[in-house]
Structures are given as structure tokens and as C-alpha cells.
């Protein structure tokens, strides 16, 4: 904030009234990683972030814009208590980080909102329903085995405590649309063979890469993981896939559950540390951005601080590493019109926009089309769509309309959450478009699968 002069004259009287309204409270935050005053001060209140913010686009209210949220943080730092209203506005933030590249002053809003959310999670007493819902979400999503149970016949998890938890918390209702979409996207659950521990590179080995199988990705879209492995191998990578890997902790850190995230992070670092990998490859955008931040997450832990930094330095998104290495596997034609959707955590958080496009353009016959308003989030935002279903549906509808307007046959995106969100919105509109992950498109081109393969993910109205 530009906190400065009102000149050499008398300040307007109203400015001095601040003390009448509030008094000096203990403020909203304690000493454990509060949003930093110096980072808040970077904001000059110009408002350039507003048009990129999905909640501002939806509601047009200052307190639900990055500028407004920073202002609330500042109020909290300067004595205002952590109130329900403040928390509601922080909760409403998607964490899409579209505001970060939009800001000319370089405000680190991503840092600010994460620190703020951690404070809220630790210190704000949520209502019982809210708490139950969040507990259920975090009892489910970071655990691929439990997620897989959702896909199968209900019988399989009927008698588990999980089911009771999920049902009682209202999560199942909220998950309903997601599950329905899921069913329409993929065939019924078959027993999915776990991936091999190590897959050798085809031809000259250019790198050893560890691969994250992920939670939602691994549970709901195992074929994306298979495609990823094949593409990496085809491009000369030995792929190391330790079994029993856990969650990367992204959902937890994005929702302020720092300690939980740190636990997941430590486990993951332990799992992959001694694999001799050059890079750690991720095919889910949300995961990649958190993994690159492990250094910051574990900075307070003397046992892991340095290891986390080294680990984070190796993290690459799939498209990133493929472009860095340079393509060697020949590409076969895929004559399709493709719309590429920028996942927020890939484009805004990691700055990766050019690489996926370069890879897609490298496929002969493929015509790439741009989606209007690409910086606007699709509304998935991790579990935001589960916590805020109504505005998420509105955002999903906007995105679906823009996607359909491209007239493309295939929508490609690099994040499972986005894929499900957009698919659900398309179903609602009765639209029809094929969907795929970048890895699957590359895989199809490398394996010369031509037209056939892309029919697999057709979404049609029921």
C-alpha cells in the first residue's frame, strides 16, 4: 500500500477516524507466517488485477478481488480481527493466480493468499458443516486408493467408515456431478495394473526422470499416466515410478493445511530422493506448482529444508521437460482441430504457456486454436468447485462456451481437475467435444494412432 503523505496541510479529518472505529486489536494473524506487511505494501492499488480475477468477473465486488483481499489482509495486519466476513472473502479466492502475472507491481499474491489461508485454517473456528465437509474432502482426495473406491460399484465401499464420513458430510452430494461426469468420461472401473517401477528409455537415454502418479490423476485417469510414461520413454527418458507414492500435498497447501502438506511433502521427498533422477516430472498442473515450492513449504524444517530445495529444483512439468530436451521421437500426423486450455497452475503459477503449444504445433496436421479469455479460470481450482459449486458452475459454463466457440474437435488440457470441470459444463450445455491430456495427444502422434484413438473420450449428452 502506498501509505504516505497527505501533504503539508491538515489531513482530511476522516483519515484520523480509524482509531475511533477499531482500536488496536490483536489483529487477524499470529506470528507464524502471517501475510507479510512488506509484500502487502507492494500493492499500489491500481486495480489491474481485477479483470483477471474470476470472482470479480462474477460478482463485481471489491472485497472479492485480489486488490480487495490484499486490503483485507492489510486490515488484519493492522488490527482488524479475523472475522467471518474476512474469511468468506479469503475462502472465495480460487487461488488461480491469474492476478499475479497481471500485476505491474509484482505483488506476490500467491504467497500472500497461501500464508493467509494457513492462518485461517489454523486459527479460525469454522462452523460444523464446513468443517465436516473439509474433513471429508481431505480424508478422500489425497488418497488414490480411496478415490478409486468412488469409481467402482458402491458395494465396494459401502461398509467402510469412509462412506459414512463422505455421506454425512454432504460431500457425496457435492461430488455427484463430478462422479457423473467421471462415469461419462471413462469406462467402468477395471482392475488397473500398477505401473512398472522402472521403464527404460527408447533409444539413447537422455535423462532419468521420476514420475508422479498423483491422486486424482492416478485414480481417475490412469490412462493419462500410461501415456505420459510412454511419451517420456519415447523421448529417451528412463522413467522411475516408485509404487505406493503418496500425495504431493498441493490441495492441502492451497487450502491452508500447511502441516498436512508438509507431511505429504516429506514422504514424497523420501520416496524419490534416492532414485538418481535428473528431473521429477509431473503431468498435473496443480501438483507441479506446489512441488516447485517445496523449498518454501519446508523452510522451517532443518531436517528437510535443503533436501526440499534440491528436490524442488528438479521438478518439471511434462511439457517443460519435453521442450527442454527437444523432441527426438518422430511425430505422425494427427489431422485435428485442437483447442488448448491453459490450466491456471501451469500458465499463471509456473508461467508455462508456450511449451504445450509448441509441442502440439509440432504434430503435423494439427491445427491449434486459441480459446477466448484464456486467463479466466474454468472454476475447478482444486477443490474450490466442491466448496463453491454455484459460482464454479458459472465459471465452467463461461469456459465451456468459449471452448465450443473455437469449433475445435478436441480440447486438450494438462490438469485432471480442469478436464472434469469443463467436461461437466459441456454436458450441461449439451455440447460435444473430445477431451484429452497433452500427454495423450503426443502419445497418439508418436504411436501413429491417427484418428481412432481420439474418439475414446467423447462426451455426449445422455
Amino acid at each position: 500500500m502506498v501509505d504516505a503523505t497527505w501533504g503539508t496541510g491538515e489531513p482530511p479529518r476522516e483519515v484520523l477516524r480509524r482509531d475511533v472505529l477499531g482500536g488496536v486489536d490483536e489483529g487477524a494473524f499470529d506470528d507464524r507466517h502471517p501475510p507479510r506487511a512488506d509484500q502487502i505494501a507492494d500493492c499500489v492499488h491500481c486495480g489491474f488485477c481485477l479483470p483477471s480475477c474470476p470472482t470479480y468477473v462474477l460478482w463485481g465486488a471489491e472485497a472479492d478481488s485480489p486488490r480487495g483481499r490484499i486490503y483485507l489482509m492489510n486490515e488484519g495486519v493492522n488490527g482488524e480481527p479475523l472475522s467471518e466476513s474476512m474469511v468468506a472473502h479469503f475462502d472465495a479466492c480460487l487461488g488461480c493466480m491469474a492476478c499475479v502475472p497481471a500485476c505491474p507491481s509484482g505483488v506476490k499474491y500467491d504467497r500472500l493468499i497461501e500464508d493467509t489461508r494457513a492462518q485461517v485454517e489454523r486459527r479460525f473456528p469454522r462452523g460444523p458443516r464446513d468443517r465436516a465437509l473439509r474433513t471429508a474432502i481431505f480424508a478422500l482426495f489425497p488418497y488414490p486408493r480411496r478415490l478409486r473406491l468412488l469409481r467402482g460399484p458402491l458395494r465396494a465401499y459401502q461398509n467402510t467408515g469412509l462412506r459414512r464420513l463422505v455421506a454425512r458430510s454432504g460431500l457425496l452430494e457435492r461430488l455427484g456431478p463430478t462422479l457423473a461426469t467421471l462415469e461419462s468420461l471413462a469406462p467402468r472401473l477395471r482392475k488397473v495394473a500398477p505401473p512398472p517401477r522402472r521403464v527404460a528409455a527408447r533409444g539413447t537415454r537422455r535423462a532419468v526422470v521420476g514420475m508422479l502418479t498423483g491422486c486424482v490423476q492416478g485414480a481417475f485417469f490412469p490412462e493419462v499416466n500410461s501415456a505420459t510414461v510412454r511419451v517420456l520413454a519415447a523421448e529417451g527418458c528412463d522413467v522411475v515410478i516408485p509404487p505406493g507414492q503418496g500425495c504431493c500435498g498441493a490441495l492441502s497447501v492451497h487450502n491452508g493445511r500447511r502441516d498436512e502438506a508438509a507431511r505429504f511433502a516429506r514422504r514424497l521427498i523420501d520416496t524419490f530422493e534416492n532414485t538418481g533422477m535428473d528431473y521429477f516430472v509431473v503431468n498435473a498442473a496443480g501438483c507441479g506448482s506446489s512441488l516447485k515450492d517445496y523449498g518454501e513449504l519446508l523452510a522451517d524444517d532443518p531436517a528437510y529444508a535443503t533436501r526440499a530445495k534440491h528436490f524442488a529444483a528438479k521438478v518439471r512439468d511434462l511439457s517443460e521437460v519435453l521442450v527442454d530436451l527437444g523432441p527426438v521421437a518422430p511425430r505422425h500426423p494427427l489431422p485435428r482441430t485442437v483447442a488448448y486450455h491453459d490450466a491456471c497452475h501451469l500458465a499463471h503459477a509456473q508461467g508455462i504457456r508456450a511449451q504445450p503449444r509448441a509441442l502440439l504445433r509440432g504434430i503435423p496436421g494439427l491445427e491449434l486454436r486459441e480459446i477466448a479469455d484464456p486467463e479466466l479460470c474454468c472454476g475447478s481450482a482444486g477443490v474450490w468447485n466442491i466448496l463453491n459449486p454455484v459460482p464454479a458452475a458459472e465459471l465452467g459454463d463461461r469456459k465451456a462456451a468459449n471452448v465450443l466457440a473455437t469449433g475445435a474437435e478436441l480440447l486438450v488440457t494438462a490438469n485432471p481437475g480442469c478436464l472434469m470441470q469443463v467436461a461437466a459444463a459441456l454436458r450441461r450445455r449439451g455440447g460435444s467435444i473430445a477431451l484429452a491430456h497433452t500427454a495423450q495427444v503426443l502419445d497418439a502422434s508418436i504411436r501413429d494412432l491417427g484418428r481412432e484413438t481420439q474418439r475414446q473420450e467423447q462426451v455426449t449428452p445422455r
Partner: protein, 482 residues
Amino acid sequence: MADIDALTQRLRAELGPGQVVTDRQELRTYECDGLAHYQVIPALVALPHTAAQVAAVVKACADTGVPFVARGSGTGLSGGALPHAEGVLIVTAQMRRIVEIAPADERAVVEPGVINLQITKAATPDGYYYAPDPSSQQICSIGGNVAENSGGAHCLKYGFTTNHVTGLRIVTPDGEQVRLGGRALDPPGYDLIGAFVGSEGTLGVATEVTVKLTRLPESVRTLLAAFPGIDQAGAATSAIIAAGVVPAAIEMMDALAIEAAEAAVACGYPPGAAAVLIVELDGPAAEVEAQFVQVTDLCRHAGAFEIRIAADDAERALFWKGRKSAFAAVGRISPDYIVQDGVIPRTALPEVLRRISDLAGEHGVRVANVFHAGDGNLHPLVLFDARVSGEAERAEKVSGAIIDLCIEYGGSITGEHGVGMDKAKYLPRMFGEDDLDTMQLVRCAFDPDHLANPGKVFPTPRLCGERPGGQVAARFPGVEVY
């Protein structure tokens, strides 16, 4: 003293849920606009969705004698949307429907919360755009543009908001809805549209705006020229104007401003430039090509050591990115700053810049310069660190001296940001008592009870029907009387 609670109840009855804000923490998010130096917490905030709702809010204020301030996107730089502590802040950000794009009439009809750039985006498929382009156009609202008579880099050739508004629906401070003009030009009677545009929210609230759409030019050519000194850049500008060329825009940035822009958006301007000039020509291809060659030669002749010509839209956007983010970018090279908006005759540019540089040196503060070289509108950014004792005062002194400089050279204290509350105390340096008195006759006609954005623009409110001056301070708490 008005009963805010009663007013709040009445507004809650007129407007829907969520449209009346009384939560203190939320109110505070509206306590300042783009000029964050000044903060005033409004008594309450109303977010109307329709003209009828705006009228209802204003009528309620009129009935209870409560002042009101209108706000669009809150990006103004003169404190024009600074709330009144005992008043209602009427936020039009949720009135953002584009009512119609009518290329056959070359008009667009929009609600006041519509963002400036959105009009262009909506009209581009039909081959049109909305010409006034303030640097904040991606977020500033058309209602705010109307209030401030906003300009932008391209107003040298295309004019300001007032040259592009042909119709307005407004709510006058007594709560009545009035329609002025429409799609057709030259409506009979007084040019109340012309009086309203630029009146900074002191004559009422606009609820619908009809604007001209401009045909997209056949050709746009942009160059970026780097000069070893400001004088040379100024000479280039003079030469271009003297040659009879009317560029769509000529913008200049000095070394300090370039440094900030580079840090912010990595625009990659030629290193070592003491000044860069961005010159843009647009129009029929046949005209533009000939003039562009001429302009390039003139720049070279004036001493440009590097000239870059934008090869495509992407490169052109990059040239402009540095310029358009300059203000906010300055935040990266200095913790605090004051941005000025003075105007001087273009021919006085080099001399005035020299005097500003002297002032900066004398007072030990840095000044970065970004300006519309074509029309003499300067934006000196006076940099300082409020944490260093005395620096804020010195920065304020330099700011005031720069304004005096503009007046000395026969210019203006504000070219596009407006007077607001920030420059009200300087208005009497530019205009005499009779001048201000006459202007306020207009205010008396629209707002005899002084409810619309009181305390803005004029330092001394005119008591309507009486002589100016008098017991003003008692009636208008918080208003500075100079």
C-alpha cells in the same frame, strides 16, 4: 445529522441481498480509489444493478440529506471516488451490461460499470473500436471515464471521452432520471452532456452511456525510438508536428521510467536510452506508409540512436506494455510515489523538463517522467520513501512546485486525471474567483443541496443563490477551505 440506520433500512428494502454493504471490514475495501494516499470509510456502500435502483438510492439520499459519491472500478488517480464519511458510496461496478453494439449507427450503448476495453472487444468483430484509451483501460469503467473526461495515449488524434459521448442517462442529485442526447448528434438546447462529462461526479450519476464507435484504421504503424537525451526526443516531437503529421500517439519516457517499466514487464527498451519515444500512426495504408517514412527520418535526424519498428501486433503490444504499466511499475523502484498530471504547451517541453529536473535535484528526490509528448500532458512521478524522515514532505513540495510550473507556462494542473480532492487546493491558482464562481453556477443548477460528491473539485463550495464563501466549514465537515 442524518439517520444512517434509517437510510440503510430503506436501501435494503429497495435493493436486493448483498447490494447494501455495512460490514466495517468490507466498507474499508472501498475507502480509497487508485489514489491510495487518502482513505475515508463510507457510512455505507450501495451496489445498484439498474438505473431505477440508482435513482432510488439517490432519492433516498436526497430525502434524508445524506451526501453520495459514485465509484466505478475505483482506479481514479485524483481521489474522485474517495467516499464521504457520512455518506453513501454508490458503486456501479455491477452495472456492466453492454446494452447494444450498433455498428450501423457507429454507436455503443453501455451501462456505466462496463470496462473501457470491453467496448472495444465487443465492437472489434464489426470493424470498430472505442477510441479513448486511458492506460488503465483494461479495468477503468466507462462511467468513471465520463466523470473524469478521460483521455489516453491516442487522444492527441482522437479526442477525449467528451468527444465520444453522444448520449447519457443520468440521475440528478434530486433522484430524477434525465435523458440527454442519444445516438443522433447535436441535440437541441444546452450541451448538458458536455457539462456533465468531466464534472467528476458532482452533477449526478450516469446510468447509461451512448458512445461513438470509431472505424478501425486500415493500417497501424508503431515505432520505438531511443535518444541520448530528452532534448533530442523533444526536438523529434516538434519536428514531427511541424511537418504537419498528426500521429495517433506520441509518448515519451525518461531513463528512470524506463528502468521501472523494464523491471515490471521486461519490455526490452534499448538500453542506455535517456529517453524513448513511441510514435504511432494510423489511418489509410497509403497515408500511413508515406508519413511513417517521414517520421522515422525525422527521429533519426533528431538524434535517435536506435529505432525499432513493430513488425506485428505482438511487438506493437510490447512497445506499449512498458508505457501503459509505467505508473504501477514505478512501485518496483521506489516504495512510494506521487503521480502528477500537469499539462504545458508542447513547445515548452524541454525547458519544463529541465526545470523539473532542477527541482528534483534541489529537494533531493527523484522524478521519473512519462508523458504524452504530443499534447504536453506530463506525468512526473515523484519518488520517495515515506520511512525516511522528511522525504514525504519534500516530495509533496516538489509536486506542488511542478503544478506551479505548469500554470506558469500557461498550461493546466490536470490533463486527464481530474481535480478530485487531490488538486482542489490548486484550482484557485489556475482560475480566478469569478471563474470558479461561474463554474459552480452549473453545480447549483444540478445540485443545489451539495449532495453529489461534495468536497471535490472546488475548494470552496458556492452556496447556491448566495455569495460565495461564508460559513462553509461548519456545514461541510472534512472539506478543506483554502
